[in-house]
Symmetry: none
Subunit: 230 residues, 4 copies
Amino acid sequence: MGIETTPPSRTRQPKAVRESDILAAAYRIFSEKGYEKAAMSEIAKGAGVAEGTIYKHFSNKQDLLARVIAGFYKKLIDNTENSLIGTKGIENQLRAVIARHIHTFFEDIGLCRLLLQEVRPLNNYPHSEMHQLTRRYSEILLRVIQEGITTKEIRDDISPKTIRDMIFGCLEHAGWNVLTTNAPPIDRDKLTNEIITITLNGLAPPATEPADFDRNLQRLEQLVNRLENN
Amino acid sequence: MGIETTPPSRTRQPKAVRESDILAAAYRIFSEKGYEKAAMSEIAKGAGVAEGTIYKHFSNKQDLLARVIAGFYKKLIDNTENSLIGTKGIENQLRAVIARHIHTFFEDIGLCRLLLQEVRPLNNYPHSEMHQLTRRYSEILLRVIQEGITTKEIRDDISPKTIRDMIFGCLEHAGWNVLTTNAPPIDRDKLTNEIITITLNGLAPPATEPADFDRNLQRLEQLVNRLENN
Amino acid sequence: MGIETTPPSRTRQPKAVRESDILAAAYRIFSEKGYEKAAMSEIAKGAGVAEGTIYKHFSNKQDLLARVIAGFYKKLIDNTENSLIGTKGIENQLRAVIARHIHTFFEDIGLCRLLLQEVRPLNNYPHSEMHQLTRRYSEILLRVIQEGITTKEIRDDISPKTIRDMIFGCLEHAGWNVLTTNAPPIDRDKLTNEIITITLNGLAPPATEPADFDRNLQRLEQLVNRLENN
Amino acid sequence: MGIETTPPSRTRQPKAVRESDILAAAYRIFSEKGYEKAAMSEIAKGAGVAEGTIYKHFSNKQDLLARVIAGFYKKLIDNTENSLIGTKGIENQLRAVIARHIHTFFEDIGLCRLLLQEVRPLNNYPHSEMHQLTRRYSEILLRVIQEGITTKEIRDDISPKTIRDMIFGCLEHAGWNVLTTNAPPIDRDKLTNEIITITLNGLAPPATEPADFDRNLQRLEQLVNRLENN
DNA sequence: GATGAATGAGGTTTCATTCAT
DNA sequence: GATGAATGAAACCTCATTCAT
């Protein structure tokens, strides 16, 4: 264990390389252990770097955490926005956002835990960037919802924020269950469909199938017309 | 100099009293500071007890945390189950569970944070009791949902767990927003109503305009009347 | 080296004993190395105590230093004030203060260095006690001087503070020379006498040559004798 | 992105220029922070030079300190010796030395603190040059004093070193008071005069005016002569 | 049973110095 | 000659846990 791929000492790397080595190691250790239990010494070892070196690139442990998470968020935001390009219709758009979120969550479970555990409590701190990123991500879904309201695909008597909380909250919760129980891995497509169904149609059983109802109604209308024309 | 007139009390309390003093102090300190930053010494002082005494009652810090949370969960479960006694109909039952959850969350914000931060990550550990309690709480809502399916108040093509995740997840997410941003305090009734509306009816605007249906129905009635008059 | 007089571990000592052990070790290490270069770990080892134990008694390194120095000052003040009890006349009083100062300085050279190096620069800090002690010591000499002015033993056209600075300053400077050069050890009595002579009489050579005066007086006597014999 | 148009200057300066840049920065940082808390990196930045470059010119941190202080001493010695050129009479010479000392002290308070704090304790180290400079400065005053003894302006029964210690010591002490308390700034002329008065005339109130005594004595002599001539 | 003094490993961070570039 | 990235030892301090009293 602890294979040193590069000669261990005193190689001068370009700044970007070193930094991403450290970020990668920090990402891994933070994900595994959480913020408090992650030791800078371990991160250093993981990055194949002396402890002091970390402090040449990041001003302290919190800064390192912030940078790790910022990187994660940027990727998530980019991916989600890309998924939405050219996607039309509320259902397709929701599907895009949800699918991307699920994908990321299970790709980066550890980091998501970190986000929930450490970053939010940190929010008193110079969170300018952190907070902005959280908001930017959250606003992607809000925008989709608001557009849906404008196009009348979504009713307008529900606060968009509640809708957003419901979707993201469900995903988070479902994610946690997988994280913490040894439940069977999620069927991502099924989850996505169910969320969309609930969100758009609700749980009340389609009393009479609207389709049938409409067809019957049409037949009735035709009947009425024929009778009237008599 | 510095004569201590009484050797520092050493009152021997019944075991239960001591333990609940400690639990109360631990609950408070954990809530305020989080697990890692809460010091056993501070908890001891808060309980009016020597540091060593804690270890007579709890095997270590994690055990103390587990017991604190177990107490919280028990209260939550009891309260929720009581709220459901005599409550009929899916909507009323959902309302009861949601209202109780919101109430507890904002009563015990600190502890909820603890739950999200510390307990879930702990889950590798001897969580037998912890996990059982989580499940027991979660199953209350599951039972309500399943009963709704049985009574056909809820459609049967959606996994009850997704429904549960959606409701709890939404509440958690909304709660976090309050915790971490300085958003305005939640309007609890509004939130409850919106969740129930989305959950039961969905976001899609009611498919057929009742106005049309009514008009057609009126025409139908007039037609039948005319035929009968013939 | 490093004789452990008491069994090294886990003996429970009365609070005062432990504290004075630590103070003694701190006194020694601080004296030898100065504040910055003294390591808490070394002090701990010197006191036969774990590092953490120090922090049960002293809140941090600066506090420990302050307590060491306060102890030193208290002893110095007590001794000096005792030396003055029953001492009459400006010369005797100066001699008492100076002798006591010299004695202390050479008994506690290391600590005096500490005083000069570390405490004074620290003076921004919660120096309430430290500063009060410095002032209290300094005021002993000031009081002697002012009394001398009242009794007209000392001229009143010189600021008492300058006189004080001159005496203490000289002692400090002389002390430093011994500390830092390998000059021969000071003849304490000679130094005391010289300071008193300069202070009281100044350096200007006695204006009239006593020899001349005496000769003239003898001639006067002989003359008178001769006249009388006439 | 982030193209650096010019590789970071790397101007090759004549050796003397580089060195004096570094010395100037070191002088400033050392004065402000003291030896231990001054960081080589900060000095490097202050000098507009890479950290490594300092080590091309100075073998290590202590050497750099020594060179800074040597520069200061040289200036002080030169200035003081210049002040003495053409100055006649013990009082004027003392005044020159004292005034120059006071001036320097308050011009370079930070560095004087450094001297007292760091250099003297360093004395185990290769102090050859440092020590010689201290001695050379100190000997200026010693020479003035010895000349005063030769010209009988100063009594010969007091060790010149004690006199020197008294003068420099007083100045140091007075300086410290200003540094460490928030005493009002010193009236330099008054201080100078008081030191000279004490030093030359002492504190004993001028009992009988020697002038009167001498006049009386002369009258006596004239009387005796007249009698003898009879 | 209760105490709290004592432990000591481990945490983050700093910084003089080196050496590949 | 100059650079500055990299080092790694060492600093102060915290705190869960133990155990003599």
